[in-house]
Structure formats: C-alpha cells, structure tokens
Amino acid sequence: MNTDLLSMFLTFAKIGAFTLGGGYAMVPIMEREIVDRKSWLTREEFMDILIVAQSTPGLFAINMASHIGNKARGVVGGIVGSLGVALPSIVTILVIAMFFRAFKDNVYIEKVFMGIRPAVVALIAAPCFSMARTAKLTLTNLWIPVVACLLITLFGVSPIWIILVAGVAGFLWGKIK
C-alpha cells in the first residue's frame, strides 16, 4: 500500500483539528476521511478497529490513529498518525493556557466562568444515564457503579484500583459462571 506519510500526517491533523470535545464525535469524520476518501481501510476493518479502540486503555482518538497508521504504513505510520491527531489540540491549549492565565482575573471572564462551571458539571453527569444502556445496567449489577462511585467520593480510593479490581472480578466471574 503506497501511502505518503505526509499525507497521513495531514489527514490525521485535520481529524484532530475538527473534532470538538473529542471521543465519539470523531468517528464519522474518521470514517469519511479514511474509508471513503483515502481508502486506507475497508469499512469492515474500520469497524473492527473501532471495537478494539473502545476496549483498550488510552485515548480513543489516539488508539484509532495508531492502529490505522500501523495498518496502512507500519509502526512509523502509527506514530505519524498519533502525533497528527494530537498536534492541533496541543497547540490550541498551549495558546489558551498562555492567555487564560493572563485574563483569568479579569472580572468579566470570571463572571462567564461562574456561569459555565455548573453547566460543565451537568454535562459530565448526563452521560451516566445514556451509558447505562450501553453497559447493560440492570437491577442486579446496579450496585457496581454505585459502589465504585462511593469508594471514590467518600473514601478517596484511586479510580485506578476500581478499574483493576473490576477487571479481575470480571475475569473470575467468567471462570465460575
């Protein structure tokens, strides 16, 4: 497969630049660029990678980029793809960080953010309910998210432990079932 590395870098940089909020918003844009326009993958290959990217650790976008790059152009392609996706966001936030620190104490900026903060907390809380369906949450396993949440908020348990224990428990549950 003859894929120019520069063209790969630019394609992924474009995907990175036009995905606001990250994550799944990226999927339709990726599909159009990588399957329809560049033909680096077939639609079936794209779907398979989607599943793997969801179930491995790390950032979804980077997982997608590294795997697609790897498939099309080997390990170098994977690195180029990942850096391409990451670059626009690193540059944007650096610029914002520089200016934000200077403007943070401005009265009007502070007012705007006083309004924004509670809205952001609501935006974080909302997906819990839509995700309940994807995770096949029923009365019998509802205790899992509740206990995980209580351990983190009340006892200050690191989420890392929750992930490790949940993974091991799932493995053991599969063995005895």
Partner: protein
Amino acid sequence: MIFLKLFIVFSKIGLFNFGGGYAMLSLIHNEVVEKNQWLTSAEFTDIVAISQSTPGPIGINCATYTGYTAVMNEGYPQWMAFLGAVLASLSVLWLPFLLMLTISKLLLKYSKNNVVSSIFSVLRPAIIGLIAAAAILLMSADNFGSPSDSTFQFIVSLLIFIFAFVGTRLYRIHPILMIILAGIAGLLIY
C-alpha cells in the same frame, strides 16, 4: 523534579483510561487536583469547559494545560512551561500507543472470547461509577459557590446545573452551545 512527576502522573492517567473522555476525568481529578494540587477544582472545571470547545481529546487537553500551569507555578520561565506542556501531552500517549500496537491483534482475535467479554461486563458498569464520581466531586463550593457565604451564586449555579442537565439529556442541545449559553448567563446575571 516537576518534569519527572508530570511524566509519571500522565503516563499513569494514559494507561488506566478505559472508556475515554469523561471516564478519565475522575482519574485526572484524583491525580492533578487532589494528590499533586497542580490545579484547583475550579481551574479543573474551566479546562473541561475549554476542552469541550476546542479540538482534541479531553485527556490531551488536560495534560497540555496542566503541564504548562504546573511548571509556571513552580516559577520556571515560559519556555520551560512549553516543554512541560508537550511532555505531559506525550506522556498520556506513549503507553497506550505501545499497548494498542501489541494488544490489538490479540483482541481482534479473541474479542468474541468469553473471558474478554466477562471482564468487560464488570468493567463497563464500573466506569459509569467513575464518571458519576467525577461529577459529584466537582459539585463543590469552588464551582457552585457556597450556600452560606454566597447564597445568590449558589442558587444561580443550581438553576444553571438543572437547565444544562435537562437541556443535554432531553433536548440534546450540543455541549458547546450549552457552555456558551451558560457563559452568557453568567455574564448577564453576576
């Protein structure tokens, strides 16, 4: 050494991020706000807001911003802060990148496998708990104002919270639009 610490903390965040975006927030909050105190709770919420309205995954956005801020707060010059930002961003990426390269082949082969699917049957519900925890931890006086000292801000915050929650859940208002509306409300009300 701040650079080594940034590298270790953000490598850890990258490695243990399952379920993307929001699931990562409780982990980042735990490391960045509680353990290392590189950012305040309010600053953390501000970055989440900024992340929603700028390109790129939240994890990288948080890493870039935290890397910059943490190094600046230590009193280093700005070019060092740039290095800190790039270092933190790449730290989030490298471990998952290596893992993805090696695991993906195996997982593709075994994704229909019972062991893998039973692991995920517990992991997925647990991740919802992680996200809920992030939301609950952020319901602080930093973000909402305190009911006794700043009653007016607290009540306004509660109303904005309810409006934003209902707006995204029931009316599917785009998160970016939601943030802009809340910002305008803040500017007009306060």
